[in-house]
């Protein structure tokens, strides 16, 4: 016998659109009510146009499962969360939820600026669905987590935004529902705060709770969620292992893909000397690879047409992480064409990024071609291609058995040497030394 935590069957949500003003007025309502014969004359007051934000969405979630939900803006993610958290009702279908549901669609909902930190903890806790006794029990833990002890009795309108976020997340993090629904909460706040949130999410996932996690943070999805649901235009497009789903999403949804081609030489990126024809991310077999495993090498490939003889062209690739910071820049030096003038023609240059170099996450590749002395940049296509590096918990990668967040743009698998000097059997046991202190 198995019990599902979430069972969604054919759920759909239809919204009225077109009505420029979201609130109807009495006059209209009255006209609608009493003016049925008039309506034929007025002819414009037909049923308002509608749009299905979600259509026929079905899925099951087992207790303890952690499921990521991804999709472009407008794909229906937020609507799905609103339905699951009961904020709005579905137009069709049925959802069955087993256990207490805690929804975090926004951090700090219901906080009142005039009230003190202490008062807001109680108020916000109650709004999120905690009982008074429960809040009292967790109060100290919440305060400790938020690190705002000193300002507990200050109205939160005097808080810095960082303090506000910490306090708000602290309350939410101590809600202990069986089913936790989390929206892009992590998109706000500084890097340190985001890290704390992710760490807390991981804790939650280890406690055997069911988590639905909606985000644009692809590394977080692939690491936290074994399974991901991809929504597209209100329907479930893919539902499966995160690595595959995220890969497919990156290929289809981001606008930046693992492979791009410019077919018209006149408009392709570049100038009269050289133009870019294509950029690709490929695996060892030469296949276009939107997703690569952290331990496998990956080829960053550019294809370009040299239009003028006699230039010492220097192709270079800039690899940036999701935040837009450079992981590295690689310049073509190890090649027979290094420091040589190139005749006209078509070239393909491939840079091999070894396995166990980049950290997990999404990387964007800028493709550039320059000449030196004087320095001239002929091609610089920002975000020409993108790819996803995924890690796993096999224990074979640089992450070892650690399941948490690892900062850094690189994650090399380094050679470690550890020397061991056996203890002198005659020496005092360590336990005895500790006992003395």
């Amino acid at each position: 016998m198995s019990f599902l935590a979430i069972r969604a069957r054919g759920i759909g949500k239809r919204y009225s659109i077109g009505a420029a003003e979201p609130y109807r007025t009495f006059r209209e309502a009255l006209l609608r009510g009493f003016g049925a014969p008039l309506r034929a004359l007025r002819r414009e007051r037909e049923d308002p146009p509608t749009v299905w934000a979600l259509r026929d969405v079905s899925f099951d979630v087992e207790p303890g499962e952690i499921v990521g939900i991804i999709g472009r803006n407008g794909a229906g993610k937020s609507t799905l969360l609103k339905l699951l958290s009961r904020i709005t009702a579905p137009t069709t279908g049925e959802i069955e939820l087993r256990g207490r549901v805690g929804a975090l669609l926004e951090v700090g909902t219901g906080f009142h600026p005039e009230l003190t930190g202490r008062e807001n903890i109680y108020l916000n806790g109650a709004i999120l669905g905690m009982k008074g006794a429960e809040i009292r029990r967790k109060f100290d833990a919440i305060v400790a987590f938020s690190e705002i002890e000193k300002f507990l009795d200050t109205p939160i309108k005097h808080y810095s935004s960082g303090m506000f976020m910490r306090l708000a997340f602290a309350v939410a993090a101590h809600l202990e529902p069986e089913i936790l629904i989390v929206d892009e909460v992590l998109a706000v706040g500084d890097a340190g705060f985001q890290k704390k949130c992710l760490a807390k999410m991981e804790d939650v996932s280890h406690e055997g709770r069911t988590v639905l996690f909606v985000t644009h943070n692809m590394p977080a999805v692939t690491r936290l969620c074994p399974r991901t649901i991809l929504l597209e235009e209100g329907r479930v497009r893919l539902d499966g292992p995160s690595r595959e789903v995220v890969g497919a999403y990156l290929e289809s949804g981001l606008g930046t893909t693992a492979s791009r081609e410019w077919n018209d030489l006149r408009t392709a990126p570049g100038d009269d000397i050289v133009r870019l024809l294509a950029a690709r991310v490929c695996d060892e077999e030469g296949r276009v690879a939107p997703t690569v495993h952290i331990a496998r090498p990956v080829a960053l490939e550019i294809e370009y047409e040299v239009l003028e003889d006699g230039h010492r062209l220097v192709p270079n690739l800039h690899v940036l992480d999701q935040k837009g910071s450079h992981a590295f820049i690689s310049i073509e030096v190890d090649s027979p064409w290094h420091r040589r003038e190139r005749p006209r023609g078509r070239y393909v240059s491939r840079a091999w990024v070894p396995g166990n170099l980049l950290a997990e996450g999404t990387f964007f590749v800028d493709a550039a071609i320059s000449t030196y002395s004087p320095l001239r940049v002929h091609v610089w296509e920002r975000g020409a291609v993108a790819f996803q590096v995924v890690d796993d918990l096999s224990g074979e990668t640089a992450r070892g058995d650690f399941g948490g967040t690892i900062p850094g743009a690189v994650r090399p698998l380094l050679k470690w040497e550890t020397e061991f000097m056996p203890a002198d059997p005659a020496a005092v046991p360590a336990r005895a030394i500790r006992g003395r202190g």
């Binding site: 609130y23 009961r86 069955e96 939820l97 009230l115 109205p155």
Partner: protein, 285 residues
């Protein structure tokens, strides 16, 4: 909702929640309201706390409002217009009517605006929606209690003794609250859809004030109109208060019965309407 429901509880013990397109039944809604009773208190507490923190006079407003109204009424209706006050000193006659009226008007206005002014909450968290308008009524009760203390002082000053009807006072208080909720619940839900309500409210309460015997006794109303008049539950409430506290003529069983019936029917209809449109609030607000 079990308090100790934790992740380790075996799945078959966990409560199951069904989310369907249909709206909630009245009994389910009341059950949920009961489960959220602490939240109800928290909302009322928040409204009071914020109001007292933001205003310079704070709690004093609960006293000043009926007091000034009493003075204005006494000067214009009592002294200048010489409106009858059933043999009672006009100031206490007016104050005793203003007391439940202020509760009613405060509760009605705040309840009607509660969903719109808590828009962010409504669109971001789920909780029993009726807690918002109902908590406004609760907050009104606190002001009422403060203003009531002043009535006791006035009664001692004018030497008015309560009649045996004092035992019925809680009933009239309940009737005032019921009437405020009947109107407030429905209007709060309407307000989400039609923002006209916000502007119609001051007008509505003003008209309602005149069709309630606050500045004048209901004995001024012609006999033939009394039944129609009694359909306003606040008629019974105000007359009931004066009868119970000041020994004025009793409002009469028929009037009270009619008022109670109207308030109860209104509350039921209001609640039904609220539940019917409740699930779409987040889409419209």
């Amino acid at each position: 909702m079990s308090e100790k429901a934790v992740a380790t509880a075996s799945p078959e013990d966990l409560p199951i929640l069904y989310i369907r397109p249909s709206s909630m039944s009245l009994s389910a809604a009341l059950g949920e309201l009961w489960a959220h009773r602490e939240l109800l208190a928290f909302f009322a507490w928040r409204d009071l706390k914020v109001r007292y923190k933001q205003t310079a006079l704070g709690v004093a407003w609960a006293l000043l409002q009926p007091l000034f109204m009493m003075i204005v009424f006494s000067v214009f209706f009592g002294n200048l217009a010489k409106v009858s006050s059933d043999g009672l000193p006009y100031p206490i006659f007016a104050y005793c009517g203003l007391l439940p009226w202020q509760l009613f008007a405060y509760a009605l206005t705040n309840a009607a605006n509660s969903l719109v002014s808590n828009e962010r909450l409504v669109t971001k968290v789920y909780f029993s929606r009726v807690t918002l308008p109902i908590s406004s009524v609760l907050a009104g009760l606190v002001d009422f209690a403060i203003a009531f203390a002043l009535l006791l002082v006035l009664m001692a000053y004018y030497g008015c003794a309560p009649s045996g009807g004092i035992v019925a006072l809680p009933f009239f208080l309940l009737l005032a609250v019921g009437a405020a909720m009947a109107a407030g619940l429905g209007l709060s839900a309407l307000n989400v859809r039609y923002r006209d309500i916000r502007y119609a409210l001051p007008f509505l309460t003003q008209v309602w004030l005149f069709v309630t015997p606050i500045a004048y006794p209901s004995s001024l109303v012609p006999e033939g109109w009394r039944t129609l008049y009694a359909l306003n539950p606040m008629v019974s409430v105000v007359d009931g208060f004066r009868w119970a506290l000041l020994g004025a003529p009793s409002p009469g069983a028929t009037t009270v019965a009619a008022s109670t019936l109207v308030a109860a029917a209104g509350l039921l209809a209001s609640m039904r309407y609220f539940l019917r449109v409740e699930r779409g609030f987040a889409d419209v607000v």
